[in-house]
Symmetry: C2
Subunit: 301 residues, 2 copies
């Protein structure tokens, strides 16, 4: 392996992360690389991916220095970021396991964490301690290397859900990388993460998609759209996201979604009963609870 000397020759060899590898060089992975590079936090950046044109484009615009395979990335990188779809993590980690450089840390940007932790355990087995699960909470409507933006994570929340096996120093290194991107880092239990994310991220998408599908199927859908205003626009914005990505998120976080849906349906039943009964007081009380809660959140932001 002659890679280490080549990496050491680069100007960034003294950066906190001499060699970064990013698997999936789109919005999430590309922005991570761009933000770390701008902060002087990385030396060399390796890109791994299934799409030749995406990797080539990422190299052209300077997101990565070179494209390599998963095993080579494992052998050369100090930090590996998995930013490909969650369903690909198991195979990638299995490819990397035997090649991982001593001291290397692997982290990820997957939207659900229980399933990711399970896949990492299965693929890495006795080396799972090197895997520090994470989740940057940042928009993902745009895709591809050209969408990468060094400011994507500025002021955003990143949740780390450390495994019991993780060394505190490794968690701290992942935290420091995200902080160098301008993000606010929180630590959370895996199950609590998935529950909270089901509620504030996955459920809005699920409901927005259900609602938009219902409008789309109506006989007068075009007339509806012709007079839809800003309320419709904002309420449905997330429904335009990638169907594949959200399908995977919902299935990956199914148990937490089912639990939340049960609770959402209970409140929907209550609101509909008040409407059916013409019970203005009950309706207003529910609307007021929502309005006050939402205004408080806005005020805190």
């Amino acid at each position: 392996m002659t890679a280490a000397p080549a990496d050491a020759r680069t100007a960034g060899a003294t950066a906190p992360i001499p060699v970064l590898a990013v698997v999936g060089v789109g919005l999430i992975g590309g922005s991570f690389a761009a933000a770390l590079r701008r902060a002087g936090h990385v030396g060399r950046v390796l890109g791994v991916g299934r799409s030749g044109p995406s990797l080539e484009r990422a190299r052209e615009i300077g997101l990565i220095d070179e494209a390599v395979g998963a095993a080579e990335a494992a052998a050369r990188a100090d930090l590996i970021m998995l930013a490909s779809p969650v369903g690909t993590f198991g195979a990638i980690l299995a490819d990397m396991r035997g090649a991982l450089k001593p001291g290397a840390i692997v982290t990820d940007a997957g939207s659900t964490k229980a399933e990711v932790a399970q896949a990492a355990r299965a693929a890495l087995a006795d080396r799972v301690a090197c895997f520090v699960p994470g989740h940057p909470i940042a928009g993902a409507e745009k895709i591809g290397p050209d969408a990468a933006d060094p400011d994507l994570y500025t002021g955003r929340n990143v949740v780390l859900t450390p495994l019991p096996e993780n060394a505190a120093a490794d968690v701290a290194r992942v935290r420091a990388a995200w902080e160098a991107c301008g993000a606010r880092v929180l630590e959370m239990d895996t199950v609590e993460h998935d529950k909270v994310l089901a509620s504030v991220s996955h459920m809005p998408h699920f409901l927005a998609a259900v609602y938009v599908a219902q409008v789309a199927r109506s006989a007068d859908s075009q007339q509806r759209l012709a007079i839809a205003g800003t309320g419709f626009r904002d309420f449905t914005r997330i429904a335009a996201g990638s169907a594949e990505m959200w399908r995977d998120i919902f299935l990956s976080n199914r148990a937490a979604m089912q639990a939340e849906l049960t609770e959402v349906r209970a409140v929907l039943d209550e609101a509909e009963r008040a409407l059916d009964a013409g019970d203005g007081a009950a309706l207003q009380s529910l609307l007021e609870q929502a309005a006050l809660f939402r205004r408080d959140w806005k005020a805190g932001h």
Copy 2:
């Protein structure tokens, strides 16, 4: 009645609407007056309202020239805009009926139209032909005279739902006033209006409020809010609106809301069944339908 000469002395006596009266001088009514005044479309502006301080503030900042009672507004105005809550229209129109100046037109800005038409018929009886129902589709999160903005209606849709009794010339005058505000004017059947609005305006608010109330009631609601991102922000923005106003809208448009809710629930059932069964293909198909429909709408905007 010495009012007519006084109004005729004002500089705007040759404007298309020599005297405008606005009932409710908040965001909706105040913005209408401000836009028409800027366009040179009105001469004198009279304000009618239940709140002394709001009327005084509206006069101070030049939205209205003077505050008068409902009967005096009826006697002096060429166009009367009802921009108070829908539930107040019946009493106001009954107060105005005996005093209405010959040729005066009354219009409104209520969010539902079947109930408004019914209230107008009951209050105005054989004079109902002067009432041209309308609905500007513009945001209403801010309230009060200070929220009034001459640009509020620029590029927005205004739906008129003329009564069979309306003279075409009267409908044309209301249309011209909205066009002078920069709005795009559509005409629609009353029932179709209420159905379409239930779908693209009232339902998003209903669902957003139900969802936010469910989050608010959760034991870990503060932790949820701490990591809520831009998807949550946009999806729930409308839930911060006035509980009273939305209660009245839902009750006023109850039948159309119930019909839409039945359809939304059917799609929710379908999505939940796909989730329960782990049926990725069904889930993706539904998400794709929503995403394509939403992207098409955005592209058309």
